[in-house]
């Protein structure tokens, strides 16, 4: 079984597609969250190894969620995702404590795996 992963995104269609893609590439999707607040609670409850985190969430900004998650003592690896271009966010991805960024349209198990094993 591959690494456990939590998908955080407010668009159900993306969560469904991401689940299919990641599961077919060997990941174990153990949960989904639609906003920042539930992302934090699900993260504590499920203790995933990886969090796939959308930048734009309806309540808390994705980068702030990332900072909170990575401030925990034993925290999962966070991978930011968005349908926008990563260049739009400047240095925010690295400063927020995320391990990397995957554009939504290019999401695959392979890309996530690459970021996890530097």
């Amino acid at each position: 079984m591959g690494p456990t992963i939590l998908i955080v995104d407010d668009h159900p269609s993306f969560r469904a597609s991401a689940r299919v893609v990641l599961e077919s590439d060997g990941f174990s999707v153990i949960g989904e969250a639609a906003d920042g607040a539930s992302a934090l609670t699900e993260c504590c409850r499920l203790r995933p190894q990886v969090v796939l985190l959308d930048v734009q969430l309806p309540d808390i900004d994705g980068f702030d969620v990332c900072e909170q998650i990575t401030s925990y003592l034993e925290h999962p690896t966070v991978i930011m995702t968005s349908s926008r271009d990563p260049a739009d966010f400047g240095p925010l991805v690295t400063t927020s404590g995320a391990c990397g960024f995957v554009p939504k349209a290019e999401l695959s198990g392979e890309r996530v795996q690459e970021l996890l094993s530097p």
Partner: protein
């Protein structure tokens, strides 16, 4: 006015008759010395007061000051009854001989409005009347004519017994009360004079100074009598007092004349200086100087949108009619309001002055009004430009958001699905086929969203085919039945067509959201060089024009084309949104 004039004429005739009667009483008196001189002096004083009082009464019928002055004259004649030879007439005459002085104090306290608003001052005046009656009483009750150095005087009808002690005690007591009272009134008058604005002081000065002088002389005379000073002093002060008393009405007439002369001077000076074409702050200063009111404000009336503004074009508020401190004098030109002066309420005592200055300033105020109108318009344009920019930014944000949340998300999902389907094409063709079918549906939805979004930015059919098909399409998509009653046959300029289209689109959105209407009607016609867009519904009415940013944005859009947007929405009687745009 003729009724007032007739009444004042009657009072004047009564004054003449009463004066002649008083003269006859004094001339036939057997206990008055220098009868001819005394008689002439008495008539002169009484008539002076009545005459000046009538003048004041006529000039300011609403001000009771004139009535009080006239009353002083009549009360003075009443006092001459003490020259009568008959015992009971003499007694009454002595009793009321000082009443004129109480009326005089009443008048001074009531100056310049003729009304006493403070309860304490009203009590002071009341005590004045009581003291005026009580003052001579001891001489009637406890003194023989000999004790009063008037051997020829008739004996009082209420004489009890001759008592030097009782007479002195009562006399000193009433005199002291009178002195305190008079001192207090002088204090009140001077304090009031000090607090009055410049213009009011000019008119007040003669009355205040002669009144205060007279009161001080009277107080000195009473004090000298009370402490039993030599009779030469009290006689001299009494004579001085009488002379001053005769002068007060002339002081008042002088005050009126002087204020007229000053007023004419102020208006002339004002006219002279205003010819130099003042700028707005100069106009205010000139008016302020001419009226002697430093707090003066000038405001201007704008017909469209019907509001008061200051010289800078900022909205201004007029004080209410019952404001105790400020009053408003409107300035009209050719029957139209052009502006108003907001000034100290005391200036309403002299409406002719304010009126003539306002009339003289009419042309300048009209010019300033046009300037203020221009500034208000610039202010409005600046605000609407800022709103248009803000609305543009908000609109771009909304578009980005819609693209991101809508079509873009669907395309992302589509891309992922296709990738998985491709990977499974060989090992699990059935699953791959189902995925491709799902992707097809997703693509249809994404296209629909893109179409909707593009139409919101600018409907292509409007630019390609004109208003009629564009409005028909809007009507066709509306859940409420819409009739397109009228559209212009020829094309309008693109900006006008777009504004008209968005007015209709916003109106229909509101009809669906709020109006509870069963149908709506669109009409666009050309009239008087304007395109007139009207959207009518049969809904509940009562729409609030300030609700939401939609209408505000439309109003800005329409006014950017020099047009006007109006909303008529009476409760329960449907709504009409009407835009009229110059073509």
């Amino acid at each position: 006015m003729s009724g007032l004039r007739r009444a004042l004429g009657l009072v004047a005739i009564e004054g003449v008759v009463v004066g002649l009667v008083a003269l006859a009483i004094i001339l036939s008196s057997d206990h008055v010395e220098a009868r001819a001189l005394q008689g002439v002096l008495a008539v002169f004083i009484g008539w002076s007061w009545i005459g000046a009082g009538l003048l004041a009464w006529w000039r300011r019928p609403d001000n009771r000051f004139g009535v009080l002055m006239t009353a002083v004259g009549f009360a003075f004649f009443l006092g001459t009854l003490n020259a009568a030879n008959a015992r009971w007439l003499f007694t009454v005459g002595v009793l009321v001989s000082s009443v004129y002085f109480a009326v005089f104090v009443h008048m001074l306290v009531a100056y310049p409005d003729g009304r006493i608003t403070s309860g304490r001052l009203r009590r002071v005046v009341g005590v004045g009347y009581v003291i005026a009656i009580l003052g001579p009483l001891p001489s009637l009750l406890f003194a023989t004519p000999e004790r009063l150095d008037c051997d020829d005087c008739p004996e009082s009808v209420i004489f009890i017994r001759d008592s030097g002690t009782l007479y002195t005690i009562f006399d000193v007591l009433t005199s002291l009360i009178a002195v305190v009272l008079v001192g207090y009134v002088v204090f009140v008058m001077l304090a009031r004079f000090r607090d009055a604005p410049q213009t009011r002081r000019r008119a007040m000065a003669p009355v205040v100074w002669s009144g205060a002088g007279l009161l001080i002389v009277l107080a000195g005379s009473l004090l000298s009598m009370a402490v039993g000073g030599p009779s030469s002093i009290s006689d001299a002060t009494m004579l001085l007092g009488l002379a001053l008393f005769a002068l007060v009405p002339y002081g008042f007439v002088f005050g009126i004349l002087r204020s007229r002369v000053l007023q004419a001077g102020a208006v002339t000076e004002f006219l002279h200086r205003i010819g130099d074409g003042p700028d707005p702050s100069d106009l205010r200063d000139l008016l302020s100087t001419a009226l002697g009111d430093r707090s003066l404000q000038v405001v201007y009336w704008l017909d469209r949108p019907g509001k008061w503004v200051d010289a800078a074009g900022h909205p201004a508020v007029l004080p209410p009619d019952d404001d105790p401190a400020r009053a408003v004098t409107r300035v009209d030109r050719e029957g139209r309001a052009v502006g108003a002066l907001i000034h100290d309420r005391s200036l309403t005592d002299d409406p002719e002055l304010v009126g003539s200055v306002a009339a003289a300033a009419g042309l300048s105020i009209e010019n300033e009004r046009l300037q203020a109108q221009l500034r208000a318009r610039v202010e409005e344009l600046r605000a609407s430009r800022a709103r248009i920019v803000a609305a543009g930014t908000a609109e771009r944000r909304r578009l980005e958001r819609n693209l991101h949340d809508g079509a873009q998300q669907r395309l992302v999902a589509l891309s992922l699905t296709l990738r998985v389907a491709q990977a499974r094409l060989h090992e699990d063709p059935d699953a791959a086929e189902a995925m491709i079918a799902g992707a097809q549906e997703e693509l249809t939805l994404a296209l629909a969203e893109l179409r909707e979004l593009a139409r919101g930015i600018h409907p292509a059919v409007l630019s390609d085919r004109g208003l009629e098909p564009a409005l028909a399409a809007l009507a066709g998509r509306s859940p409420v039945p819409v009739e397109v009653a009228r559209t212009p046959e020829e094309r309008l300029p693109p900006a006008v067509e777009a504004a008209a289209y968005f007015v209709v689109a916003e109106a229909l959105t509101n009809v669906v959201k709020y109006a509870g209407a069963s149908q709506a009607r669109i009409s666009i016609s050309r009239s008087n060089g304007h395109a007139v867009v009207e959207v009518t519904d049969d809904g509940i009415g009562g729409a609030d024009p300030t609700r939401g940013s939609g209408l505000r944005g439309l109003a800005d859009r329409v006014s950017a084309l020099d047009g006007m947007l109006e909303l008529r929405s009476p409760e329960g009687a449907g709504t009409v949104l009407r835009a009229s745009i110059p073509v």
